[in-house]
């Protein structure tokens, strides 16, 4: 409301209104209901990173179980609880809150020259509802943990670990509520609160990505909430929405679930694409190649992404026309995604690439996302999907796009904006060690999974055919490397936060607005709001002018 008017007023009247806040936040302000978007962004980033470690430990426990074909390390029920909550935590408590809640909140107002989000209290509320969500997930382990997979298909989810499953549902509904509140906030903020001098096509591409993400979350999340609420009723109140014995339909749940959960894949990658479009031009010292194509392809992915969900159900109770229609729509998503990849390669082409840790992770993402994208196309064809659906081929594929894609992107973003967020520089040598270990670990863990799936190993199993042991041990070894890769990062991030060299306002010499304020930014972001004088990616203009001057 009045927040939305601040930029316009502030440009006319540079003096800030009398502050209701201290000069600087104290450490304990980060544990309170604080309405500063930067505090909320950091709250999201730190909380979600802790959950990333929890979900990662679950993954390592599962990989240790899979080092041998027999079920001998975890009990089968605990294994299923880990696989369910590993997926749930990584999606709903790490990638989504870190990329949208963390980077989105911290960066969007700074990038468009606003003093805060449009609805700061709603923003704080959106963060604080994820806290009980996380507690419910952790608490569900006292009741055995939900064991029906992150998809929680009935009837299995109705007959297994009822208390834990109900807690799981409430957790997801809370996380979904947070997502709906957050996306509403982003749409209004980006729409109404850009500095007057910033036209739509001068907006950083991260904001375009956040716009597309928010629209997608707003449209699809309520459907998941509805589906899960019906499931909650089936479990606890004896309804039969998904109980075939009383005329319910189990496949209906799958439609409701995937109508959200396929777009959720784009919720997890579109903000990361936004991070890529910011990191690559800065460190390659060249304007982003094809600004409009990248901006519009985000919107295209958002639109087409709403109509591909049945490709998760090719082997389920789906009629032929659906299997054909959704094959075609799924394949079409590859086109706007390809456009982005080609544009980033073209951005690097002819640049002067600085191999900072941020850039290494961005290039690593590019290299692995190409592979994940290609295997995704093969999964999109119904005829071939009949063979590999629900196998390790799928597990390998989505870890290439979610770990090789989203997590690499989050790391790229962390290395890139850490100086802005904390006011300190990270150690580059530790950053490079982190990158090398992560890159090797990722490929060792997830590449052999493709072959396992093609050869006949289904996913979500604690015991498997002994002929697959060698490849599984390779995956387990890779996951240990991945676990170790976190050590240099943790040491670096924790040590540098207090001891790292002080960061300048603009250590990477970047052009977007967030680098025009102090590191870390002051409360309310700027004394005087910045005015847009050049585009967000105007690299190389001076050198071009010089060349022209010499020539004339």
């Amino acid at each position: 409301m009045t927040q939305a008017e601040i930029p316009t007023q502030a440009v006319v009247v540079p003096a800030t209104p009398p502050p209701h806040h201290p000069e600087k936040w104290k450490w304990y302000d980060y544990f309170t209901f604080n309405i500063d978007h930067k505090v909320i962004g950091i709250q999201y980033l730190v909380t979600s990173f802790i959950f990333y470690l929890v979900g990662g430990l679950m993954a390592m426990a599962m990989r240790l179980e899979l080092a041998t074909p027999a079920s001998d390390f975890l009990s089968p029920d605990l294994y299923n609880a880990f696989l369910t909550n590993h997926g749930t935590i990584m999606i709903f408590l790490w990638i989504v809150p870190a990329s949208i809640g963390g980077f989105g909140n911290f960066l969007v107002p700074l990038m468009i020259g606003a003093r805060d989000m449009a609805f700061p209290k709603l923003n704080a509320l959106a963060f604080w509802v994820t806290v009980p969500a996380g507690m419910l997930i952790v608490g569900s382990f006292f009741f055995g943990g939900a064991q029906a997979g992150w998809t929680s298909y009935p009837p299995l989810s109705v007959v297994t670990a009822n208390t834990a499953q109900s807690m799981w549902i409430l957790a997801i509904v809370l996380a979904g509520t947070s997502s709906i509140l957050g996306s509403l906030n982003f749409i209004v903020t980006i729409w109404k609160m850009r500095v007057p001098s910033m036209a739509w096509d001068q907006m950083p591409l991260f904001c375009w990505a956040m716009m597309a993400t928010s629209i997608l979350a707003l449209v699809s999340t309520p459907v998941l909430a509805a589906g899960l609420t019906l499931l909650l009723f089936d479990i606890n109140f004896g309804t039969s929405f998904f109980n075939p014995a009383n005329g319910g339909d189990v496949v209906m749940y799958q439609h409701l679930f995937w109508f959200y959960s396929h777009p959720a894949v784009y919720l997890m990658i579109l903000p990361i694409f936004g991070i890529m479009s910011e990191v690559i031009p800065v460190h390659a010292r060249k304007p982003i190649f094809g600004y409009k194509a990248i901006a519009y392809s985000s919107l295209t992915i958002c639109l087409v992404g709403l109509f591909v969900w049945v490709h998760h159900m090719f082997t389920s109770g789906t009629p032929p026309w659906m299997r054909i229609f959704f094959t075609i729509s799924t394949l079409i998503v590859a086109v706007p995604t390809g456009v982005k990849i080609f544009s980033w390669v073209a951005t690097m082409w002819g640049g002067k690439i600085r191999y900072t840790s941020a850039m290494l992770f961005a290039v690593g993402l590019l290299a692995m996302f190409v592979f994940g994208g290609l295997s995704g196309v093969t999964l999109g064809t119904a005829a071939f999907d009949l063979h590999v659906h629900d196998t390790y081929y799928v597990v390998g594929h989505f870890h290439y796009v979610l770990f090789g894609g989203s997590v690499f992107g989050l790391y790229a973003g962390l290395y890139h904006w850490y100086p802005k967020i904390t006011g300190r520089m990270l150690n580059e040598s530790l950053g490079k060690a982190h990158f090398i270990l992560t890159f090797i670990g990722t490929n060792l863990t997830f590449l052999p999974m493709h072959q396992l799936g093609l050869q006949g190993m289904p996913r979500r199993v604690a015991m498997y055919d002994p002929q697959f042991q060698t490849l599984n041990q390779l995956c387990t070894f890779g996951s240990i490397v991945l676990g170790l890769s976190l050590l240099p990062f943790l040491a670096n991030a924790i040590w540098s936060w207090s001891q790292g060299p002080k960061a300048e306002d603009n250590p990477w010499n970047a052009k977007t607005f967030e680098w025009t304020t102090a590191s870390p930014p002051i409360i309310e972001n700027w004394e005087v709001l910045p005015v847009l004088t050049e585009g967000p990616y105007a690299y190389g203009e001076e050198s071009a002018e010089e060349t022209e001057a010499v020539n004339t």
């Binding site: 089968p76 299923n80 997979g149 298909y153 009837p155 299995l156 075939p244 014995a245 189990v250 390659a284 010292r285 060249k286 304007p287 190649f289 094809g290 409009k292 194509a293 389920s316 109770g317 009629p319 032929p320 054909i324 094959t327 394949l331 590859a334 086109v335 390809g338 080609f342 544009s343 390669v345 073209a346 690097m348 082409w349 002819g350 002067k352 690439i353 290039v363 590019l366 190409v370 592979f371 295997s375 064809t381 119904a382 071939f384 009949l386 063979h387 629900d390 093609l454 050869q455 006949g456 289904p458 979500r460 604690a462 015991m463 055919d465 990616y537 690299y539 190389g540 203009e541 050198s543």
Partner: protein, 351 residues
């Protein structure tokens, strides 16, 4: 063929990218068309070779597997070509366009190139549309368009006998049309739409076993036996939760869904035993829900079948439909045969 053309165009565009950068002068020592042609031929050759020799798939044991593998192999060819070109471009950028010592300047201010962008939008579009059409053809040839057609012309043969006690949502007339809409999965290829399968077997999934019923003679078995070369239709159902029937060597999979009828139709092409795997998470022992399909020669199959008919205790089996038995009662006679161990049965009994 299209891959050849694509590779060549692709390269020619990359090398002729209108980027006025000195860094790429080294390439100009070789004439661009020659370099393009060489890369194009090399990539094409490697892609086609890898598409035929990746060795990633298990043996083919059904006629359908041949069609599915051809689709996969052609995707591997296309994927390898694209992978090599894009990763090659990334590696080239990383080496050629790295920051040189002491150079603090920016790269050239190039913001886009409309023909190039149109090109790399159009080519993938054409490729995926072509792939979509081809995969549609394969999907049709493996029977994806007509699931359950024939079965319903022959009314009661569908999985009724082994069906869980789930009432039909409405009293379906004993006709063809209504019933046809209710079956999901794979049927006969379009050209054989009206032919009846040589053999129909009812398949029931339950925690954690597959039960195979040969309805004509009420043979019940924990393993699937089929003759090689016969057109087999599986009428699939589930008793408790969702399961998924998968034979990797057949390249076919279909969920068994409580309250829904699903079907798979295949022609086994090679004698031998192949694993039947449950592919949908169905509980703690999901990973152990495995059995096998045994593809016999027609004579061996007949011998097996006759032997099993002789063993069927006629009165009992007719008196008790499997659906009337509890899981333990139903399982126990076949436990050993199916490789289900005592622990598992005990676990079932606890539930």
């Amino acid at each position: 063929m299209s891959t050849v053309a694509v590779s060549v165009y692709w390269c020619s565009d990359l090398t002729q990218c209108p980027f006025p950068d000195a860094g790429y002068a080294s390439m100009k020592q070789i004439p661009a068309p020659l370099l393009t042609l060489t890369i194009g031929i090399a990539v094409t050759f490697v892609s086609f070779w890898y598409g035929q020799n990746h060795g990633l798939l298990p043996e083919q044991a059904s006629e359908q597997s041949v069609l599915v593998d051809e689709l996969f192999n052609s995707m591997v060819v296309m994927g390898t070509a694209l992978f090599l070109l894009v990763e090659g471009a990334i590696l080239y950028c990383m080496v050629q366009f790295r920051q040189r010592k002491g150079d603090e300047t920016d790269g050239p201010p190039i913001e886009g190139n409309l023909p190039l962008e149109a090109f790399w939008t159009a080519i993938p579009t054409i490729l995926v549309i072509g792939l979509g059409l081809y995969s549609f053809q394969v999907f049709q040839d493996i029977g994806g368009i007509t699931p359950g057609h024939v079965a319903h012309d022959h009314g009661t043969m569908i999985a009724q006998s082994a069906e869980a006690p789930l009432p039909e949502s409405s009293a379906e007339p004993e006709g063809t049309l209504v019933a046809e809409n209710g079956v999901f999965g794979l049927g006969a290829p379009l050209e054989n739409e009206d032919t009846l399968a040589d053999l129909q077997v009812d398949v029931t999934g339950m925690q954690y076993a597959w039960i195979f019923t040969y309805p004509q003679d009420n043979i019940i078995d924990g393993e699937l036996h089929v003759p090689v070369g016969a057109d087999v239709q599986l009428n699939i159902s589930a008793k408790d939760v969702i399961h998924s029937f998968w034979v990797p060597q057949f390249r076919l999979k279909q969920d068994a869904i409580p309250g829904k009828k699903t079907a798979l139709r295949f022609i086994a092409s090679k004698e031998g035993s192949y694993p039947v795997v449950c592919a949908e998470l169905c509980g703690g022992y999901h990973g152990s829900m495995r059995t096998q399909v045994i593809v016999h020669s027609p004579e061996d199959y007949q011998a097996w079948y006759d032997q099993r008919v002789a063993q069927v205790p006629v009165n009992e089996t007719i008196a008790k439909a499997p659906a009337d038995l509890s899981a333990e009662e139903y399982l126990s006679p076949y436990g050993e045969e199916m490789g289900v161990n005592a622990d598992l049965i005990a676990n079932l009994s606890l539930k």
